[in-house]
Structures are given as structure tokens and as C-alpha cells.
């Protein structure tokens, strides 16, 4: 605590905070220009000068630490003269183009001149020779408006870690430029635009422009990835013009390219506006009444003939919690079957199962913010820039500002490589063995947390027995990592006070993802990094509301809130006032088999696009062709919806109420900013409409009704009110009761260790390349490929190939190739990328027209392919 006097006001502040921070806390205004709360102070603008008793000259308050007993004056005639002098020098060559300046109305220079009462300048300086605006994508830099305060450079370097911008030249010629002087190619997070005090850095997609004071800011949650960053939609005349942020949020006001620029899919021309019914092989627009009755009659017909088990449903992580809840209720109470599933079957459910068995928790054990203070972070099989950029910034900040030792284990180069203490270029598919190898080293070198393992875990000895049988040589051969690297990685994790383990899509999407996640959880338990702050395990998956989707019980195994039908039947029957089905329900692979053999006759899809998003999409495509009746509700006519018999237009995240759950189990509220376009409706209301037409209404009139019911039935939602979710929302963890029979009375249990054989393809001579599928850097799921802004950065999916292989095949950037496996083929342009190791090609799954998933035969993300140049 430091007690100081600022302008005759006693101010107490925490030790180490600056005078500016202390003054801001006390509500005393000190003018600033180059100061930006997200970054370290630059003290270059001299605006924040204050007089301190005992100092013979004015001090910059942004970087002077407040000391006990200081007497500070922020507003004296001398200071005012100095500040005016500074402002006049800035105004000398700052064009007063305020009426057409994009920053007008929220410009720090404008506000300061107004507040300081400066109306013009008498400094006889010539305006700078204007340098042509560089032709960058999405972001525009105007040198004549720039005051070189370096806020953009520093935020790019310190917060985002992209370090794409630098200051070039000195004096009058000083300007912001890219590192190599060429066009900007960075993460395109737009933080430089948000940081800029003037209009020098501006948002290029804000073409259809509006003034800041006209825009209504609606605080909502970004639905594109599972980090769930808070953002503000800037709305005018029923249109979102841009996205801004508030610094007082859990993501500290930082957004990635998806949040900042990817919102415009909601205004895409492809949006569905009316319900469609297939007649004579074509989808034709009809009225809501006709469509719902058609759907309801056909569903009723099929149910009465073949029983409710012949109807299956697929939901998606694009939906809100309310939509997911209504979807599974529709199936369980209106249709009368447990046949609900989603893409989580191939991804997140595996991890949840693994973490439930070992740690008794259904997702990340700690919050994202805690990552900053970790001693070591093991990042396995994920490039955060592609999946959840918000996580990447946390890791980068942890590595640089808090000296956390980051280990990156990936089969490709990642954006985190330059921040890592150790990079392990493992072979695809060998993350599981890497974890085993590290555990072996940790046990050998006695680095494990004996006290934690003895006191809080069980099944250690059986696990160790199995682990001892795995030879080290096999692990090294399988992972392709040198023993030296493996030992140093194990030492870093074993010796760290707190270590966090983060794993992502490459692990989760594997067929053996369950085993892999269990091995990683074993590693966390062995080193005692569980159940305490700034440690733990974080499973990361790109898809927006994947955690909420699982929480809402959109799976055959569990009712909402991971409750077994055997235990919670009475609760649900009393709340829903209907019976619950007793059948087991079908998972996605079983639905595909059911469609093929005719046992499943109708398919209801809410937001799901299996042909783009599911592994083994080729088989799904032929199976869906055999379905008698397919209903799809989506915001776009996706490849799957094109095969449907009835299509309902759904409302996007900006047009509906609801809640989303992010990867750290933070439940946040969406606030509607717009009216749905055309006749589109929120998904829950479409389901209610169909249910009513079937004669079994679910009793929902608003999204709040659904939420209220969720608080009655889901244990970790109990007592939650919607108004509690304002702001940063609430963390609600679905902890499984500690000490149940799985874990022998202790909170944690080791999982058995198993190694799987490396999947070898018999046709490896014919198909020489291993193809990894993953996510494209600037896209999130397939929804964002409808965003014109993001398509500007990546118009179509590219096949990434290593320079060696490209040389061997004589391919260059942009050459069209046909990629084929035994499952199918697609064609795409080639991109030679140094991050890809030899013998491996990488294909993004985001693009529906590319359909990389069609090539995959099993539930894996790896398959063997061959490349043929297209002529």
C-alpha cells in the first residue's frame, strides 16, 4: 500500500502501481496520449506530466511509481502550458480532417484538444509530404494522421506477439511499417486499429462507414471459437458495422481476426430467409406454417410406422445452450428417442471421458487467465492461432512476461515456436507416446510429485506396471524425438512449480484421442499439477459452443448436465411432464449404419453440417442419400442442407438471445443486436414450432423459458439467473462428485496406459504422403468461410506441402493439384510452407467446397494420399 496525495486528495494504491493508475482509481483525470492500459508505458508523448514535490522537473505519471507520502499536482499553469505546447506541435502537421476521419468522435487527439481548449496552432510547420497509403488487407495505415505514439507497434508485440509492425525512419519521416516493408501479413487481429489514438490505423472493412456516436454498441460473445471472447457489435440501421471491445472483460478487450472481422457472415447474401420444401427435386420457398406442418406430418408418419427409434438428430456447436437443450428435449420428449448426437462424438466427448475417469472434471481444470502464472506449459498438438487465438496470447505472454517455459510438441511448425523453450517436432499421431516417454523420464529421474500421487491419487502402481512394459526405444522411434529433447522436456515439466498441459485438435480428433488424453492426464497427475491454481490440463477444441453442447446432453449417453437416465428420470419427467425414452439411443456411427440399412428413416439436423464437419464424410454423404426424410435448420444452405427435404432458416448469434459456454466453462449471455433477416427464427423456436405442429408443445415462448428450465434440471446451473450472466458471465463447473467408485475414494485416478500401433496404410507406395487435416488460420469452422472479410485473407483452402516435396514434385505456390486417397479426392491449390515436415501434407477442413474430410476413411485426422498436378 502506498498513500499519496494527488491534487489535495488522499489516494491509497497498491505497491508498485504508477501515479497515473493511482489517479485513475481516484477518479482524477490526467491527459494521456501514448499511454494504453494493455501495454507497457512508452512515456513518449509527455502529456501525462505531473509535478511532484521534491522533484525539480515535471515527471511522466505513466511510468513513475507511486511512493508513500508523495505530493502530486496534476494541473498547474506550468503543466498546462507544457501540455498545450505538446498538443500544438502535434496539431502542426496533423490534418484536421475530422469530418471524414474514421476516428472522428473517438479520437484521443480530438478529445484532448477539446478538453484542453486548444483551437489551432501557431507552430509554422509544413504538413508532411503524404506517402501513399500502403495496400494492406483489412487494415489501413495513413501516415499523415499518425503521431508515432507506438501504441500499435507495442500492442502487436506485447499483447499479440505477432510483432508485425515496426517504426521506420526518424523525425518527420517516422512512420509505421511492416517488418520487411512489404504488404502487411500478420494475424489480422485488428488490435492496432483498436489501440490507435487517432485515425492512422483504421479498419478497412468499415467502408460502409458510420460515425462512432451513431453506433449502438451491443455487448455479446464471439461464437466462432471456444474461447468465448466478449465483444461489442456496433449496430446502425439493422446492420453490424464493426466490432469493438471493452477492456474491462475476461479477454481484456483483445479479439482475433474472427471476432474483429469475421462477423460479416451474418450479412452474407447466402443467408436463408424463408423455409424451403423440396418439391420435384428442388428446394422451393414456402410459408412457415406449410413447412412446419409438412415436417411434423412426415415425422409423425414415420414415427407411427417405424417407431421413434427411426428418427435421428444431429446438433452442432454453432447452437446456443438453449438451442441444444431444446433440441435434445425435442427428441427425448416429442419424438421419444435418445438418438441425438453431434460432432462432439468425434472430438470432445473422447476427451471428456478421459478427464472424467482421471480427474473427475469434464473439461479444462483451470481458467485461461491462470495460464499466465504457470512455471511451464506443455502445448501438444495445437496451434492456438488456428484454433483459439485467445489462448495463444496467454501462452505468449506467459512465456515472455512471466518467464514460463513453453514446450511445443507438434508435427507442424506453429505460431508458438518462437516463444518456446523447447520445440519437439513429433511425428503425426504420436502425442500419446510423447506423454508416455515424458512420464518414463520423470519416474526415472524421480521428478514426480510423490506426496500428491500417494495422497490424492489411486491406481498408480497398475499404471506404472503397464508403463514399465513400454520400451523407451519404441517411444523414441514412434515420436521421432531425440532422447535428449525428451529428457529436457520431461525435466522442464517435472521441475516446474506449476505446469499446465494444453492439447488440441490434433490430439482430440484422433481415433485414439481417448487414450491420448488419458496419457496426458496421467502426466499431469504424476507431476502433481492438478487441483491447484496456475496448473492443470486444458483440452482445447475450435468449435464455438462445444462445451455447452455436451453440457446440454446432446448425446445418447447422458441427459442434460451429464445425468444418467437411471438416476435423473424422475426429475426430468416431473419438469418436462412427459415420459423419457428407455432405449439406448444411437451415436453418429450407428446413425450412419442405421441410415444405410434403413432402420433410421428420418434425420433432423440443427446447425449440423456432417458433410463438411464430420470425419468419414464420404460415407455420410451416401448414407444421407438413403434417408427418407431429412430436416435441416441452418443459417446457410450448407452442403448437407442442400440434400434436405425441409430447410428452416435459423437466426445467427447476433439475432438471438441465449447463452454460450466457453472452454473454461464460463457461461456467457448473447445479446441480440439485430432482427433476424427475412423469416429466420432462433433454433429453439423452430423446434418449438415443429413440436407444436406435432401436437406436443414443449412450452417455450422465449429463450428465457428454456434457460429457466435448464436451471431446474442441470445441477451446475441450479440457482443461476440470467441477470447473473451479464458481463463476464459465470464459471460453472460440472464437477463429478469426488471420491466415487471410479477413483477409490480419492479425487484423482491414474488411467491405464496403452499404446496403439501406428496406423500403417498398406498402399503407402501408391499414396506416398500422409495428410493431416486441421483448421485454417483465418477461419473458424465452416461458418466463417461465408465471411467476405475472412475470404479476403484466404479465399479458398490450400494444400500445404513441405518445400522438399514441392521441389521433388515440381510444384510451386498456386499450382492446382488433385489430392486423392482410397476414400475420394479433391483438388486445391498448393501452398509451399516451411512449417510442414517432409512427407506430410496439410489440408484445412473449413471449406465446404473443398471437403477434405471426404478423403478420410476412419475416425482419424491422418490418411495417406497422393498428389497429381492438374493440367
Amino acid at each position: 500500500m502506498a498513500l499519496l496525495t494527488i491534487d489535495d486528495t488522499e489516494v491509497s494504491t497498491t505497491e508498485g502501481s504508477t501515479i497515473l493508475e493511482a489517479a485513475t482509481q481516484a477518479g482524477i483525470w490526467i491527459p494521456t496520449l501514448c499511454y494504453y492500459p494493455k501495454i507497457s508505458p512508452s512515456d513518449s508523448c509527455r502529456m501525462c506530466i505531473v509535478e511532484i514535490d521534491g522533484y525539480d522537473r515535471p515527471m511522466t505519471s505513466c511510468n513513475t511509481v507511486a511512493v508513500d507520502g508523495m505530493r502530486v499536482r496534476t494541473d498547474t499553469p506550468e503543466l498546462r502550458v507544457m501540455r498545450e505546447e505538446v498538443m500544438k506541435l502535434i496539431l502542426a502537421d496533423h490534418p484536421l480532417e475530422c469530418p471524414t476521419c474514421p476516428a472522428g468522435g473517438e479520437c484521443d487527439i480530438q478529445n484532448l484538444t477539446y478538453r484542453l481548449g486548444i483551437y489551432g496552432t501557431d507552430v509554422p510547420l509544413q504538413p508532411r509530404a503524404s506517402i501513399p497509403t500502403p495496400n494492406w488487407s483489412l487494415i489501413e495505415y495513413n501516415q499523415s494522421l499518425c503521431i508515432t505514439c507506438l501504441r500499435c507497434v507495442k500492442v502487436c508485440h506485447e499483447v499479440i506477439g505477432a510483432s508485425a509492425l515496426i517504426l521506420r525512419g526518424v523525425g518527420y519521416d517516422a512512420r509505421i511499417d511492416t517488418r520487411d516493408g512489404g504488404p502487411l501479413w500478420c494475424d489480422f487481429c485488428g488490435e492496432c486499429v483498436e489501440a490507435c489514438p487517432s485515425g492512422a490505423m483504421s479498419n478497412k472493412v468499415f467502408r460502409r462507414w458510420a460515425r462512432s456516436w451513431e453506433l449502438r454498441k451491443v455487448s455479446t460473445v464471439c461464437p466462432l471459437c471456444s474461447a468465448g471472447c466478449r465483444m461489442e457489435l456496433n449496430v446502425k440501421d439493422g446492420q453490424v458495422f464493426r466490432v469493438t471491445t471493452d477492456m474491462d472483460t475476461h479477454n481484456k478487450g483483445t479479439l482475433c481476426v474472427g471476432g474483429r472481422f469475421g462477423f460479416d457472415f451474418i450479412h452474407s447474401e447466402d443467408r436463408l430467409l424463408t423455409p424451403l420444401i423440396r418439391s420435384n427435386g428442388e428446394l422451393k420457398p414456402v410459408s412457415w406454417e406449410e413447412a412446419t406442418h409438412f415436417a411434423a406430418d412426415r415425422l409423425k408418419n414415420i414415427i407411427s410406422k417405424s417407431g421413434p427409434e427411426s428418427v435421428a438428430g444431429l446438433a452442432s456447436a454453432r447452437l446456443t445452450n438453449e438451442d441444444c437443450y431444446a433440441f435434445q428435449k425435442f427428441f427425448r420428449s416429442v419424438v421419444g428417442a435418445n438418438n441425438v448426437d453431434s460432432e462432439a462424438r468425434f472430438s470432445f466427448l473422447r476427451v471428456q471421458r478421459a478427464l472424467e475417469l482421471t480427474c473427475g472434471i469434464k473439461g479444462a481444470t483451470n481458467t485461461l487467465g491462470e495460464l499466465l502464472q504457470t512455471g511451464a506449459i506443455l502445448v501438444v498438438g495445437i496451434d492456438p492461432l488456428e484454433e483459439t487465438p485467445a489462448l495463444g496470447w496467454k501462452i505468449k505472454t506467459a512465456a515472455r512476461r512471466y518467464d514460463s517455459n513453453v514446450i511445443v510438441a507438434n508435427s507442424r511448425g506453429t505460431s508458438l515456436d518462437q516463444f518456446a523453450r523447447l520445440r519437439l517436432r513429433i511425428r503425426p499421431y504420436s502425442e500419446s507416446e510423447l506423454a508416455l516417454g515424458m512420464m518414463k523420464v520423470i519416474l526415472d529421474q524421480e521428478l514426480w510429485d510423490t506426496k500428491f500421487v500417494r495422497g490424492q491419487t489411486t491406481h498408480f502402481l497398475p499404471m506404472k506396471g503397464l508403463l514399465d512394459k513400454v520400451p523407451m526405444r519404441a517411444i523414441l522411434r514412434r515420436t521421432g524425438v531425440s532422447e535428449e529433447d525428451l529428457v529436457s522436456a520431461a525435466r522442464i515439466i517435472g521441475e516446474a512449480q506449476n505446469a499446465a498441459i494444453i492439447f488440441g485438435g490434433d490430439v482430440i480428433l484422433q481415433e485414439t484421442g481417448l487414450q491420448c488424453a488419458m496419457n496426458l492426464a496421467n502426466l499431469a497427475l504424476l507431476t502433481g499439477n492438478m487441483g491447484r491454481p496456475n496448473a492443470g490440463i486444458y483440452p482445447i477444441f475450435e468449435k464455438g459452443n462445444i462445451v455447452g453442447l455436451c453440457d446440454m446432453g446432446v448425446m445418447p449417453e447422458y441427459l442434460p448436465g451429464y445425468q444418467n437416465a437411471a438416476e435423473a428420470r424422475n426429475l426430468f419427467e416431473s419438469v418436462w411432464r412427459t415420459g423419457l425414452p428407455f432405449t439406448r439411443g444411437l451415436t453418429v456411427p450407428e446413425m450412419v449404419v442405421g441410415l444405410e440399412n434403413g432402420r433410421v428413416r428420418a434425420l433432423y439436423m440443427a446447425g449440423a453440417d456432417p458433410l463438411t464437419d464430420y470425419p468419414n464424410a464420404g460415407r455420410f454423404a451416401s448414407a444421407i442419400g438413403r434417408a427418407e426424410f431429412v430436416i435441416a435448420q441452418d443459417i446457410f444452405l450448407s452442403p448437407t442442407a442442400q440434400k434436405a427435404h425441409v430447410v428452416f432458416p435459423a437466426a445467427s448469434f447476433a439475432e438471438k438471445e441465449g447463452t454460450l459456454t466457453n472452454i473454461e466453462h464460463r457461461i456467457q449471455k448473447l445479446n441480440p443486436a439485430l432482427q433476424p433477416p427475412g423469416e429466420a427464427r432462433p433454433d429453439w423456436s423452430i423446434l418449438e414450432e415443429v413440436a407444436r405442429a406435432m401436437g406436443k408443445p414443449m412450452g417455450y415462448f422465449t429463450a428465457a423459458d428454456v434457460f429457466r428450465e435448464m436451471t431446474l434440471t442441470i445441477p451446475f446451473y441450479r440457482g443461476l439467473r440470467r441477470r447473473d450472466l451479464e458481463g463476464d458471465g459465470r464459471l460453472a463447473h460440472p464437477f463429478t462428485d469426488t471420491g466415487d467408485r471410479l477413483r477409490g475414494g480419492k479425487p484423482y485416478a491414474f488411467a491405464p496406459v496403452r499404446t496403439s500401433e501406428s496406423p500403417t496404410d498398406p498402399d503407402s507406395t501408391e499414396y506416398p504422403f500422409e495428410m493431416i487435416v486441421g483448421r485454417e488460420m483465418f477461419h473458424f469452422g465452416s461458418t466463417s468461410t461465408r465471411s467476405a472479410n475472412l475470404r479476403l485473407l484466404t479465399p479458398r483452402g490450400e494444400l500445404e506441402i513441405s518445400p522438399e516435396d514441392a521441389d521433388f514434385l515440381g510444384l510451386a505456390d498456386g499450382d492446382e493439384v488433385t489430392v486423392s486417397s482410397r476414400g475420394g479426392s479433391f483438388s486445391a491449390p498448393v501452398k509451399v510452407s516451411a512449417t510442414i515436415p517432409k512427407g506430410i501434407v496439410f489440408a484445412p477442413t473449413n471449406f465446404p467446397d473443398m471437403g477434405a474430410y471426404r478423403l478420410l476413411q476412419e475416425n482419424t485426422t491422418v490418411c495417406n494420399v497422393k498428389l497429381v498436378r492438374r493440367t
Binding site: T100, E140, N142, R207, R208, W209, A210
Partner: protein
């Protein structure tokens, strides 16, 4: 008895031969002051390009909220109004929009004959506002007569 009558007649005759103050509107019109606040005009450069830069200050300052602008920017970042709607039915002809305009892009003409048969036709779009207002009733009457 005749005296009051003559007195009255005198007054009548005085006004009968004095200069008329009424006007045969709409054939004849009063000359209006140059600062008259009549219908708005969006001014253009000699090249025919609109002067308005869509800074929204007129729409912001308008107390009657009768101006609605949809702004756009050209590729070289020059801003212009994609549409500019002014609802004369709401306008109170205060002239704040003219005062606030940083580009002298909106001015008020001396035209005051603005009656229409429907409320919708009182909403003027950008193209109408860019053209100088036509003198309407007088010319029509002349045609008829």
C-alpha cells in the same frame, strides 16, 4: 347623419387608390430574402461531384431527426453519402444542418412551395436534393393560362 357615412367612404376610397399590399399568389410572388430558409440543396463541385462527405454532423445536429444518411467510402477512402434522405414533413427549417456542415455541402434555397399530396413524397432523396428546386406552381399556372 351623412357625415359618418362620408367619413367611412373616405377611408375606403383612400385604400381603394393606395398601393395594394396583397399579392395575386400564386401568379405573383413576394421576393424573399436571400437568407430565407427554404428547401435544402446538396451542393456539388463544378465537376458535378457531390460535396457532402457523409460526416453525419447534419444528421447528428438535426433537432427534428429528419436527415438519414447511408455513408460509403470509395476505394481511395474518400467518403460520400450513398443515400441522403431528408424528410420535409419533419424538418423544422432551423438551418442547423447548414451551419454545422464543414464542407458547405448543404444549403437552403429560397423555395418555400413544398406542399405535396402524400407524406411519402415529402421525403427527398439524394438525387432530388442535388438538383436545384424547380419553381412549380407559377410555371404550371402559366402553362394553363
Amino acid at each position: 347623419m351623412i357625415i359618418p357615412l362620408l367619413k367611412g367612404l373616405k377611408l375606403t376610397l383612400k385604400y381603394f387608390f393606395s398601393k395594394k399590399i396583397t399579392l395575386r399568389y400564386p401568379e405573383e410572388k413576394w421576393p424573399v430574402a436571400p437568407r430565407w430558409r427554404g428547401r435544402h440543396v446538396l451542393t456539388v463541385y463544378p465537376t458535378g461531384k457531390i460535396r457532402c462527405v457523409a460526416c453525419m454532423l447534419c444528421a447528428t445536429v438535426c433537432p427534428a431527426e429528419c436527415i438519414k444518411i447511408v455513408a460509403a467510402a470509395e476505394p481511395d477512402n474518400r467518403k460520400y453519402p450513398e443515400s441522403y434522405e431528408l424528410d420535409l414533413g419533419r424538418c423544422i427549417f432551423c438551418g442547423h444542418c447548414v451551419d454545422v456542415c464543414p464542407r458547405q455541402a448543404i444549403e437552403m434555397s429560397t423555395v418555400y412551395e413544398l406542399s405535396e399530396y402524400s407524406r411519402e413524397s415529402l421525403i427527398l432523396d439524394k438525387e432530388t436534393l442535388m438538383k436545384p428546386p424547380a419553381e412549380r406552381y407559377v410555371s404550371e399556372k402559366r402553362k394553363a393560362g
